[in-house]
Symmetry: D5
Subunit: 121 residues, 10 copies
C-alpha cells in the first residue's frame, strides 16, 4: 500500500505568483472495511493552494481507484490521502474531506488539514 | 442508566500528531418522553478532534440503541451523551447536536460543546 | 402480538355516501430485526376509502408504537398492519406502504393492497 | 357554522363553452381540534372545471378564514368545503384536497371529489 | 387588446409528417389586476403538437410582454392566450397552463386545452 | 395582552455549569393584522443559552397559541416574544427570529437579540 | 423618476432602544432595460437595523411597483433603492440585494450597503 | 461469472395469497468497464411481486458485491441480474432498473422486466 | 451536416428476445443559433427499446459533439437526432427529448417519438 | 488567444463613492480540453467591487463565447479570465470562480482572487 503515491502526477502551477484555491471532488471513492471485508463508499474532496505544482486530474483518479480492494479504516484513509498528496505536490495549504456513506445507521465525515509551516501570512 | 457509557469502545488515534475533525451523524436515535411515555426521535451529530483515542463506530451505534426505552428530556440526553463520550475518549474538542422531530408543532435542537481546558492553541 | 389490533379505535364515517380518500403518513415507525435484535425504522403510509368507519388518529399512533420492541420482518409487518386495519375499520379500499431505512446499503419498500371483494363501482 | 357558505361569491365563467381546469391552493388554512381546542393547520387545494360560474378568489380567502376558531375534524372539514363550494358554484367537476400538518408524528391528507351526475362527456 | 395576436409570428413545421410535442415555459409573465391595478405574476407554459406551423419564440416573448400593463383576470388571460395561439398557428393540439403567484395567501393555476376537432388518431 | 407571559413555564437547567444552545422552531405561529383584521402567519425561532432555567416546551406552544386572535404588527410581536421569554427564563443569551409569510408579494423577517449585560466572557 | 421616494411611508420604531434586524424580500420586482426596452425581473431584499423609524410594508410595495415602466440599469436601480430608503427612514444600517433573472445566459446580483457614519461600535 | 447466482438466498413468502410489491434499492453497486478497466457505479432497483419465495436481503447485498471486480457492460449486467433473480426466486413479476453514473458527460439507465407467462390475473 | 450520423456506432443487443428500455441523458449538448450565431445549450435524452442493435455510448458522445459549431433550430435538431439514431440502430421504439436552456426568458422542450410500424405488441 | 480581452467593454460606475458588490454568474461556459480535444463545461462566477468602471454584461457574454473552441486547462482559464477582467475594468476587488462539470468521476472548482494593492482598509 506504501507505493500508491507513485501513481500521482504533477504539472507546474500556471500562475505561481498568485494564491488561489483548487478543489477536486470525487464522489466515487470505494475501499474495503478491514474488519468485515465489506465495501465502503465515500466522497473525497481535496482543496488546496498550489505552490510550484498542481495535481494532474487523471492521475488523481487512478490514485483513488487503487484503494478499490484495500482494507483501510475511515480515519486512516483520510490522513493517508492527505499525506500522499502533500508529499507529491508540496502545496501551501491542503484539506482532505472524506464523507462516508451510512454504515449501521451512522454517516461519518473525516476532515484533515495541512498548512506549510514556514508560511508567513 | 449510569453504566451506559461502558458500551462505548475506543481505538488509538491513527494520526495523533495532527488536529483533524471526525463527525458521526446518527439519524435514527430514539428515546421515550419521561412525562408521557411516548417515543421521541432525533438526529444526533457528534463532531470531535481526537487526542489519543477515537470512538469505535459500532459501539457508538449500540450506545445510542441503549436509550431506546429510557425516559429522558431533550436537554438532559444531549448533555449526557457529551459527558459520556468525553469521559471515554478524552478528545481535544467535542460538540454534540441533537435535532429532535416536531412535538406539538415545535422542532427543537440542543447543541453542547466541550473544550479541553489545558488546550493551548 | 396477536391482540395488538385491539389498540385501534374507529369512529363513524362523517360522509358515508361519498367515496373519498384518507391518507395517514407516519415517518416514526420503529420495530426490531428478529435476527439481530437491532432496531429497524420505516415510514408507514396508509391510504384508504372508508365505508362505515374511519380509523381514529391517536389510536393509530399508539398501535404503531406497540411495535417498538417487537421482532418482525419487513414483509411480515407490512402485511400484518394491512390485515389489522382492514379487520378493524372494514374499508372499501386500503393500501399500506412501508418505506424502510437503508440496511447494508439497501433501502426497501413493501406495498400491499386490499380491495373489498363485493365492491360494485 | 351552517351559513359559512354565504361568504362565497361567484362570477360568470368567462369561457363557458370550454372545459378547463382551475386550481386554488391555500397553504394558510387553520381551524381548531374539537377535542383538545388546539389549532390545526392545513393546505387546502380546490381543483374544478367550471360550468356557468367561477369562485371569486377574495371571497374564497374570507370563507377559509371563517374556520379560524371553529372546532371541526379533518375528515369533516374536507367534505364540508367540497359540499359548500359545489352548492355555490355548481361546477362540472371538483376535487378538494386537505393536507394537514403533522399531529402526534402523523401527517394526514383527505381528498374528496364531486362529479356532476348528468355529465355527458 | 384585440389585435395583440398580430404580434405572434409562425414558421413552417420542419417535420410535418411526425406528431411531436413542443413546450415553451415563460416564468416572467406579468399583467395587472383589473380591480386593484396591482401587478400579477405568472409562469405561462404552452405545450402543442404542431400541424403546418410552429410559433416563433421571440415573437411569443413580445406577445407575452404586451400584457404588461393590461388589466385582465386569471381565468380570462389563460383562455385568451390559448385562443390567440390556436388562431395563429393552428396546431393539432395545444394546452396553456398559467401558474399565478400567491395573492391573499392563495396560489392559482388555470389550465385550458384545445384539440383539433377533425383529428383522427 | 400584557399577562400572556404568565402562560410560560420554566424548569431548572439540567446542566447549569455549561453554556449550551437550545433552539425551538415553531412554524405554526399565527396572529391577526391590526389594520385589516386578516390573519398573519410566521415561523418563530427562539435560540437561547440557558442560565438557571429552561422554557418548558408545551407551555411555549400554549403561549404562541395565545396570539391567535391578537391584532399586532410584525415588528411588535417579535420584540414582545423576546421581552416575555427573557423576563420569564432569564437566559444568558436569546435571539428571536420571526419569518412572516408573503404579504403583498413581500416576505418579511424580523430578528431581535438579547445578551445578559453582566456577562463576562 | 426623482420623486419616487415620496411614495415611501414610515412609522415609529416600536422598540427604539434595541438593535434588531428587519428583512423584506420582494421577488416580484420588474423594470425595463433602458437599451432594449425589454422587461427585467429581480428579487429585491432589504435588510436594516432601524433607528427611529421603520418602512411601512405596503408603501414599500407601491414604491417597487413604481419602477414597472422605468428604464434603468441593474447597478443603478440597486443603488437608487438604497439611497431612497436611507433618505426616508434613516436606519442605523441597511443592505439592498438585487438578484436579477438570467439575461443572455448570465445571472447578476448587485449588493450595496449603508452604515450610519457616526456609529461607534 | 456463471455461478454468482448461488449467492442468492430465498425464504418463503409470508403472505402467499396476496399480490404485493417489494422494492429493494441499492445505490452502491459497482463493477468494472470491460474495455477500459475503469470502475462503473450504479443504483440498482429491483421491484417484484413474490410468488412462493422472497429474496433474502443480506444475500442480495453479497450478490451485488460479487460484481465488484467483474468486467461487464451496462446492458449486460442489468439483464443478468434480472435473469439470476428470476431463476432463484421465481416471482410473478420483476423489474430491474440500473441507473449508471455519468460517463463521458452521459448518464445511462437500463430497465428490464419479467412477467410470469402463465399468469392469470 | 448530412453525414454526421456516420459517427454513430452500434453493437449487437445482448438480450435480443426481451423488450427492455435504455435511456441515455446528455446534459452537455451545445449548438449555435442559425439566426444570431449565439450558442444554445440543451440536455438531450434518448430512450429506446433495442431490436438487433444498441447505440455505442462513446460514439453517441462524439455524435453530439459534432453539433458544437452547427447552426440549427430547436425543432430541427431534435427531429434530426431522432432520424439519425433510428436510421443507424433501427430500434423497436425511440423517444428523443431536448430540454433547451432559457432564451429571452423562455425555456423550451421538444419531444419526438418513433415506433416501428410493423410492431405487434 | 491574447487579444480576447479586447472584446470586453466597460461603462462608468454609476455610484463611484460607494463600495458595493457586483456578481455575474454564467452557467454556459464551454472550452476544449487541450489534451483530448473534448469539450469542457463550467459555470463561471465573477464577483467584484468596481472602482471607476463596470463590465458591460453583453460584452462579458461575447468574451466567454470566444473560448468556445480554445484548448485551455482548468487552472489556466480561471486565472486568465481574472487577469483580463482586472486589466480592463481595474476593480478594487475581484474573484473568479470556475466550477467545472464532472470529468472521470471528479468535479473541479478553481477560485482566484485579486485585491488592489494600494487599498487601505
Amino acid at each position: 500500500m506504501n507505493d500508491k503515491k507513485n501513481i500521482l502526477e504533477i504539472f507546474p502551477n500556471p500562475k505561481k505568483g498568485r494564491d488561489y484555491l483548487i478543489t477536486h471532488i470525487a464522489p466515487e471513492f470505494t475501499s474495503v472495511c478491514p474488519k468485515t471485508g465489506q465495501p465502503d463508499f465515500a466522497t473525497i474532496s481535496v482543496e488546496y493552494i498550489p505552490d510550484s505544482f498542481c495535481v494532474e486530474l487523471k492521475s488523481l483518479k487512478f490514485y483513488y481507484n487503487a484503494y478499490r480492494n484495500d482494507g483501510i479504516y475511515f480515519e486512516g484513509v483520510t490522513n493517508k490521502i492527505l499525506d500522499d498528496l502533500v508529499a507529491v505536490c508540496k502545496p501551501k495549504y491542503m484539506r482532505v474531506t472524506a464523507d462516508f456513506n451510512v454504515r449501521g445507521g451512522i454517516t461519518s465525515v473525516i476532515e484533515a488539514e495541512y498548512k506549510k509551516s514556514n508560511k508567513k501570512k
